[in-house]
Symmetry: C2
Subunit: 413 residues, 2 copies
């Protein structure tokens, strides 16, 4: 993984601040230091890999997996699985309360034997809680308790929460979400690892990639540290008046990497009236929708581009007698053309006064992805500390719940 | 369709400006008045419906439809089809240049007989042009020219472009994109109508809904006109320093309505260093990712919420002996709970100084959707005129192309 700036000011003047923030993080003296368990996950998880792989193998003997979770209990797994692709059916539930979505889901599993991985620290969050009720109601009408014991996998708190007694009583397989790992930093815990392994992906390589990145970003306080570079770049951009960071990818499979990144940065930094607004576009598709605004609209943005050097599959452009003006591309690689579009767009945006940083991944595999995830997490912590907020809390997410519980008639509200 | 404001200042003081903008639009005296064909599409298309339906019926006898298009030749059809749902396979191509995406697409149709609707005014746009080459190369290796004549449907310019000679020579079925209809305003032309009809949707009702909305917004210059209300609301918000409009929906099927809306507003207004940044979230999912930023981050945003009153399908929450804290919801409708979340979030965001407007649709059917699309288009034109820009051009989308063609080695660049 390599960073590459096309920015008039990549913010290196803030490197002293970034190094200090890194120091606070590593010494556990930053705000929110009760939630630093994610720092050590790449090594801590190694001992759990066999058990996760064994559970994943059992899941893969069923017809598919339904992951029940929302926010940090959903986006990381989905991001990795969609980026790598899978032939095993992995579907998601409990990340919305749409009746049509869940009706269609029930219909689609009616004659199948799906496993369920319910992921929730408390077990009482409304969206996954309701989805799990709906799914269990369906499953219990079709399978015995013994059969269900082989199909239900619960990832939850070690001791507390509504899922704990059920795990004990009904013999479900369980995995633990550590107290010191917040949802948006949990992709490298069993929260992400079990669904990713069930999708047939190599979680050992994912953790190795993350560890390789940890070995760089945790040990280097120089300006060569890519996480510090990114933290400087975005804070400098923000301080210069850029309010929106736009995440650009050129492969539709990376869409949910952007969604995961939005939670990571939006929830970590968007507080106390501060914080860059994280947004994303899927290029080149959205070049034909948001391209005009980016090129010539209000100058509020800076860009971060995800560039994958080598393709997993490629297509050669066929020759054609038709006069479509594209014959000069015959015989060329589609992936190469896509990457040239990326470079041309970066150049045009720079001329339109939109500066950018490019993250170059060698290829889209587990190792590279592990690097990328850890890089983003570490840079996020440093960036949030530089911004002066607690990057590990989310005080604002409770605001609507009280009103909702009252309106729904929840006892006690 | 009904608008409902929870905004301290819905901007009604700008109503005079909005009415004047509407006058310029209706009298054809606004900037870009060569591109006002969309205004009359709901009535102009009535005479073409039978022919479109007949083509759609032929498409539906094949195994599925591949729509080849990008930007305005893609988003409208996808938005409507995903909002309404379909059992007929409609897939998209040529809206990106990802080699993996197109490899997987080729694999998935290998043993099937798909129809293709290629949508491009010029036929030479890089993304759909390359995808069409790749697909034709595949199809020509499997089907005779006669068979292909029944499978290819081209929506293009009446006279010009690289598809025209092929239509004549190979007997493809063709539909015309009018010279006076820009891509982002073309969903109610054959560009959108043919794929929507092929998905089994009632395009007559879609056009009737659009006409019903046209009858309101084109004839009323009072402050009761919902398109003028929305145009006032967003311009007033922008002038008061709100830089981002956030489109909120609570049903995943509406995701591409937001994407279509982004192109419509972003491309129409993002120019001359001006323009609101259009962004969207899928709630309640993204409440658990972007919710924190929205509630407590930098106060840069205002919201537009899409609320659908009646569900197409619903689920009753089952009772459960498990102590998950959700038994008070047993027997309730999931759709109702989802709408209560919407109301609670709107209230919480208002307290967090994020003001909103709600668009209430009676239900998600063709008629209501037709209303919604026309409403957005008309309000966009009025809003752009109020902003002082030409809402119908897109001068910035060419910026990267010159560089890209040079880098790709296109003759003449």
């Amino acid at each position: 993984m390599e960073l590459n700036f096309q920015h008039a000011d990549p913010g290196l003047s803030l490197m002293g601040e970034a190094a200090a923030a890194r120091g606070l993080l590593e010494s556990g003296k930053c705000k929110g230091s009760d939630f630093l368990g994610w720092l050590g996950l790449p090594s801590a998880m190694v001992s759990q890999v066999s058990r996760i792989e064994e559970a994943a193998a059992r899941i893969r003997k069923s017809d598919g997996l339904i992951v029940v979770g929302i926010g940090g209990s959903y986006l990381g797994a989905r991001a990795v699985i969609e980026a790598l692709g899978t032939d095993f059916p992995v579907v998601f539930a409990g990340h919305n309360m749409d009746s049509l979505y869940h009706s269609d889901l029930l219909n689609s599993i009616q004659k199948k034997k799906y496993s369920i991985n319910v992921i929730s620290k408390s077990g009482t969050t409304t969206e996954p809680g309701l989805a799990f009720r709906i799914l269990m109601n369906h499953m219990e009408s079709r399978f015995s308790r013994d059969e269900l014991a082989g199909l239900i996998f619960a990832t939850t708190d070690a001791n507390k929460g509504s899922l704990r007694p059920l795990i004990k009583e009904r013999g479900w397989t369980d995995f633990v979400i550590g107290d010191d790992v917040g949802g948006r930093f949990s992709v490298l815990s069993p929260v992400g690892l079990l669904p990713i392994a069930a999708a047939g992906k190599n979680i050992r390589r994912l953790l190795e990639g993350a560890q390789a990145m940890a070995d760089i970003v945790r040990k280097d306080s120089s300006e060569k540290n890519p996480a510090l570079q990114y933290a400087c770049y975005r804070n400098a951009s923000y301080r210069s008046g850029k309010k929106i960071e736009l995440f650009l990818s050129y492969q539709p499979g990376l869409h949910f990497i952007a969604e995961w990144w939005k939670q990571l940065y939006g929830e970590s930094e968007g507080k106390e009236g501060k914080g860059i607004f994280p947004a994303s576009v899927d290029f080149s598709s959205d070049l034909h929708s948001m391209g005009q605004w980016i090129q010539e609209g209000e100058r509020l943005i800076f860009e971060t581009i995800l560039d994958v050097i080598h393709p997993e599959k490629d297509i050669k452009i066929p020759s054609s007698p038709v006069d479509d003006g594209l014959e000069y591309l015959a015989g060329r690689s589609l992936h190469e053309i896509n990457r040239i579009a990326l470079a041309a767009v970066q150049d045009a945006h720079s001329k339109g006064n939109v500066q950018s940083m490019k993250i170059m991944l060698d290829r889209m595999d587990e190792f590279n992805l592990g690097q990328l995830l850890y890089f983003y997490e570490y840079a996020c912590a440093v960036s949030g500390i530089m911004l002066g907020v607690n990057p590990f809390d989310q005080p604002g997410v409770e605001a609507y719940k009280k009103t909702m519980f009252r309106m729904l008639g929840k006892p006690g509200f």
